[in-house]
């Protein structure tokens, strides 16, 4: 096919496939039934695939929402009183009609009382206000085209409930198990990782790459563990060190450096949508800003460096104020929720409902790898998450207040002198807001956790807001997701892709794990080892999988082009933090000692690490924004990597890089250009920026470049600092 129609059909096919999954109560269906229904659906649609899909699409887009919004209140099984004996929430009900006769006669708009009523002829429906012409026209078209209607059952679709028990059978809600494959084998820690990866090679005819060379490996370890490059001297020493535990010593050393916490805190700040202000600024009103947000950032860095167990790390961030022994030292941890977005017109219920959604989202996607926010308006369409689950969680945040805690008794609640945290508010349970509308209330749902996560019925939270109980549910060793999700996120940082490629969605629409046994084995042992994050880093960094070369061999590439089976280490571009910090290191200027208040990372004289950058929801620093820093308004599952000319313009022309190039040049020339000959300068520059010596051709070319333009040392430095080799980890 050579026309754009190919895309259209493709898109329809995609939608089609999705809907097939979506058919009534997908989770209640056994796999067999799902497959049968899938086959049925496809075979039915062989002749008229496009028509059916189109009609289905039309129904879902134009008809169902109208019926739900304007008719169900009085004409569904959920109605307090069903008016006129008419049920419009199933196909059968619509066709059978009520006391006055059939409401929908497929193909015959004029015989359909529904149309009569919305035209305000015999009946006047909906009674309060006539529907817009366009909707009436849609209804007419729908009936004329055969009134396609997938709503099965004799009763309301809301009866077609999610079957939680069946939903628990989905892999992500099953507790992780230690590997059965390795049972009885006396395999050391990181060798378990390799055993579970290598078992997939043979059948697929894949050959694992050989180990990376020492310089490559050292650069990889330094950047991954501390976000900084090694020095050339460290590379040389590592190349010399032939001892058996050379790598282990490096890993232990790097994990003990405070730069480790600085590097890994940023991963946490992405997922916790850390920022220091709001997307909205009304006038010059800064009362909703977080000028001391940096104290939360410092807390995260310290917590990681002190290796606070991950379960405690979460408990403190959700509820440090409710744990007597912790509340004095760890109050800043509460910035996790306390620095969340505050929206325009805060006292309005509809606006608060938006804020609660943010809190539910950051907890559910961020800590549990599951999307719950879409259940705000309707039961989750794919996962066993009911609207009640959403409001059970939202109730916790509705019972929690955003709070500026004054530094001392004298200080008022002025944000300038406060810690931006949370505290207990008035405990309240929320009523379901039907279709997310604040003025359309359903049943009140007691505060509690996602029902699918633990066996049995949902237990209600009873202590205050329920935040501490929420934290306990998340960090309960029996929680099937918490450990898997963090293990996967950390894995993703090392390998570019997670074992689950959708790190914040382990649900139906997410990807299935590439190595389920490996994910589970790591998760189980992570918890057994006391939720010890440094332990986890050590496991991964010491695995052979991580230490492989990144070369591409054509045969394996043919078999496994996406490297799903991890036969090679992927080549990775540095994130903006890694690049900028490496540039400052090459320029001999980096300050790794100072934390605290925020910096502007594109300020040419700024020496502090990029993790300390000011993060604005209103106007993100252009350097960060340009280089794929995530939007801090919401939880970021992962960074999207883009390659744009605007990025390159920064690398060519911005004062930041021009200055760093000059600093680097000054460093290698000892401040003066006259005494040092080109050959020495070139060698020193390569060592300073790339931690290696130039090869012969590079050497000749660079020397020639300098000879032709004697003042061009900074230009050569700039070229190296923005080169692909500088940006990429092999």
């Amino acid at each position: 096919m050579t026309s754009p129609h190919a895309t259209i059909q493709l898109n329809q096919a995609a939608a089609h496939g999705r809907r097939t999954q979506l058919r009534p109560a997908p989770l209640a269906l056994s796999r067999v039934v799902q497959i049968v229904s899938l086959l049925l659906f496809f075979s039915l649609s062989c002749t008229t695939a496009d028509d059916t899909t189109e009609q289905q699409r039309f129904f879902e887009a134009k008809i169902r929402p109208v019926l739900v919004e304007h008719c169900y209140k009085c004409h569904s099984a959920d109605s307090k009183k069903v008016e006129g004996g008419l049920l419009l929430d199933t196909a059968a009900g619509s066709r059978a009609g009520g006391e006055s006769g059939p409401a929908v006669v497929p193909g015959k708009p004029n015989e359909s009382l529904l149309l009569d009523a919305v035209r305000y002829q015999s009946f006047e429906m909906p009674p309060n206000q006539q529907l817009p012409e366009s909707i009436v026209a849609d209804l007419e078209k729908w009936i004329r085209d055969g009134a396609h209607d997938p709503r099965s059952g004799e009763h309301s679709i809301t009866e077609d409930e999610i079957d939680i028990e069946a939903g628990r059978k989905f892999w992500a809600f099953q507790p992780p198990q230690p590997s059965a494959f390795l049972e009885g084998q006396d395999t050391s820690d990181s060798a378990r990782i390799d055993a579970l990866i290598q078992r997939h090679f043979k059948d697929r005819g894949l050959t694992a790459n050989i180990p990376a060379d020492r310089r490559t490996l050292l650069r990889r370890l330094h950047f991954d563990l501390t976000g900084l490059p090694p020095t050339h001297e460290e590379v040389l020493a590592f190349q010399q060190d032939k001892s058996a535990d050379a790598i282990q010593k490096v890993v232990d050393d790097l994990l003990s450096r405070k730069t480790y916490g600085q590097r890994w805190a940023r991963v946490w700040l992405d997922l916790s949508r850390f920022a220091e202000d709001q997307a909205h600024i009304v006038g010059n009103n800064k009362s909703l800003f977080y000028p001391n947000a940096w104290r939360y950032r410092d807390w995260v860095i310290d917590a990681l460096n002190n290796n606070i167990p991950y379960d405690q790390f979460i408990r403190l961030q959700l509820a440090a104020d409710l744990i007597d022994s912790q509340k004095e030292t760890h109050r800043a941890a509460l910035g996790f929720i306390g620095l969340g977005p505050k929206y325009y017109r805060r006292n309005d219920l509809a606006v608060m409902a938006e804020e609660w959604e943010d809190r539910v989202d950051v907890v559910s996607r961020g800590l549990q790898g599951i999307t719950v926010a879409c259940a705000r308006c309707h039961d989750h369409k794919y996962d066993p998450i009911r609207t009640e689950d959403y409001y059970a969680l939202a109730g916790v945040f509705a019972s929690t207040e955003m709070f500026n805690q004054p530094g001392s008794k004298k200080d008022k609640k002025d944000p300038e002198n406060s810690l931006h945290i949370i505290r207990e508010g008035k405990a309240q349970d929320l009523a379901v807001m039907i279709r997310g509308k604040v003025d359309h209330r359903g049943d009140v749902v007691p505060r509690g956790f996602l029902q699918v996560m633990f066996p049995g019925e949902r237990k209600s939270f009873s202590k205050g807001s329920g935040r501490l109980e929420l934290a306990e549910c998340i960090t309960d060793p029996a929680n099937p997701l918490t450990a898997r999700v963090i293990v996967n996120r950390i894995w993703q940082q090392y390998f570019g892709t997670g074992l689950v490629a959708t790190p914040s969605n382990f649900g139906q629409l997410g990807q299935r794990p590439s190595h389920p046994e490996l994910l589970d084995d790591l998760a189980v042992r992570f918890v057994q080892n006391g939720w010890d994050l440094k332990w986890l880093h050590r496991q991964i960094a010491l695995s052979s999988a991580y230490q492989r070369s990144s070369d591409i061999n054509a045969a394996s590439m043919e078999t496994d082009p996406t490297n799903k089976w991890l036969w090679r280490m992927p080549r990775r571009r540095l994130p903006i933090e890694g690049w900028r910090d490496a540039v400052l290191t090459a320029a001999g200027r980096i300050d790794v000692d100072t934390g605290g208040q925020s910096i502007q990372p594109d300020d040419p004289v700024e020496r502090r690490r990029t993790v300390y950058s000011a993060v604005s929801r209103f106007d993100l620093n252009p350097l960060l924004a340009r280089f794929d820093f995530p939007d801090p308004n919401v939880h970021a599952a992962r960074r999207v990597e883009t390659n744009t000319p605007l990025q390159k313009l920064f690398l060519l022309n911005n004062l930041f890089i021009i200055k760093q190039a000059r600093y680097t040049a000054e460093l290698v020339s000892g401040g003066t250009n006259e005494e040092t000959v080109e050959a020495q300068l070139v060698t020193a520059l390569f060592a300073q920026t790339l931690q290696r010596e130039p090869d012969e051709v590079e050497f000749e070319t660079a020397v020639q470049f300098l000879k032709n333009q004697p003042t061009a040392l900074p230009q050569l430095a700039q070229s190296l600092l923005v080169s692909n080799e500088f940006w990429y980890l092999d």
């Binding site: 997307a279 080549r571 590079e698 333009q709």
Partner: protein
Amino acid sequence: MNPWHSRRQMLKTAGTGFGWLAAQSMLQQASASKVSPASTLAPKAKRVIFLMMNGAPSHVDTFDPKPALKKHEGKVPSADFMRRSKAAGYMPSPFRFRPHGDSGVIMSELLPNLGKVADELCVIRSMYTDEPNHEPGLLMMQSGHQQPVRPCLGSWASYGLGTENENLPAFVALSPGRPVVGPQLWSSAFLPAEHQGTAVDTNDLRVEKLLANIRNPELSLESQRVQLDLLQFLNRRHADKRQLEESLESQIRSMEMAYRMQTAAAEAFDVNREPKHIREAYGSTPYANSCLMARRLVERGVRFVQVFYVDRKNKQPWDTHNNNNSRHITLCQDSDKATAALISDLKQRGLLDDTLIIWGGEFGRTPFAQKNKDSNPKNAGRDHHSTGFSMFLAGGGVRGGHMHGNTDEFGMNAVEDRVHVHDLHATILHLLGVDHERLTYRYSGRDFRLTDVHGNVVQKILRG
């Protein structure tokens, strides 16, 4: 091999839809197909210029004459509506209205130049939106949602259709000062960052001030070329040792693209290159310069240009809570002249047919005066008004010389052929050849659309 085959696979595996494809093909400089992958309909417009009158112009003083206001002058409206407590009595417009052009599109005397291009205009007199406050109103108009963190219209267009000129950004926001709300109005939110609007402050027209990093502060283009050759030599050598690593090749290519962009963008954004008679036709205000720059950009293949009518000191000049009449005289003079010049200029260059112009505010203004401390009727102002207002479209496949819809006899509520902002968005995408229900992006477990679950294409304003 069937070229669609690999695209299908990419779509399947990437799961991020059309824009990703567009970006890929942009970087690959593949067979320069004119058919965009996201086009599902024959496009009528290839590019858009959205002229936003920040603060909200008064519809009853511009496009929507309401004689009844005179008859009921001073009477306080009886109906229940938002911000009611601020309402004083009905306030007739002092400006005369008459039909213009062959088509007889009605406009007030504040818009004499637009009157001359009346046969190009499609005036919608039945717009409505959800809330009469600037922040939610602007966000609704730009992104289809009242709270921040949704991609805006230009980002969706860039995502769906990509760019026609790889040496220029696909989406540019021209703003001589910051509008209310600020950068969220050109944010790509959860769409990939390349679809973010490139914000340009048009107060200072020197190219190096307009665009960040467009010139090296020290090197001439020639010297920079020598440096770049060295860099690319290093990159080339690096890539040659790393066979089959496609991403290294695209880094090398985008570096070259950036180098070329310095020349291309410097030329595109430089309104000083326009002849005197053209510059005079637009005028010399910041808004006029934005309009002229917008024309230069769309002429060179920029997909979407968003112009904000603001200035250094005023984030929303059209917010006439007092002195409504005198301020509308001044504001309209500027907007009328430059907007009409833009339309004529595009038409004369044969670009109007496939360039869609949109003009309007985030809502309208009340047909009645608002209660002010200053009781002098000459200084009276009009308050925000969301339930009925006017906008106009021109070019790009809309019916010229057409008036669509009506408000009631006082201009209070849109009553006939009502057009919600979602409908406007659906129509704009339709004109660009994109089905608003199919342009989706999966994020946080659901498929997002510009129009959410709303929006109907306004068929009656499409050119037959």
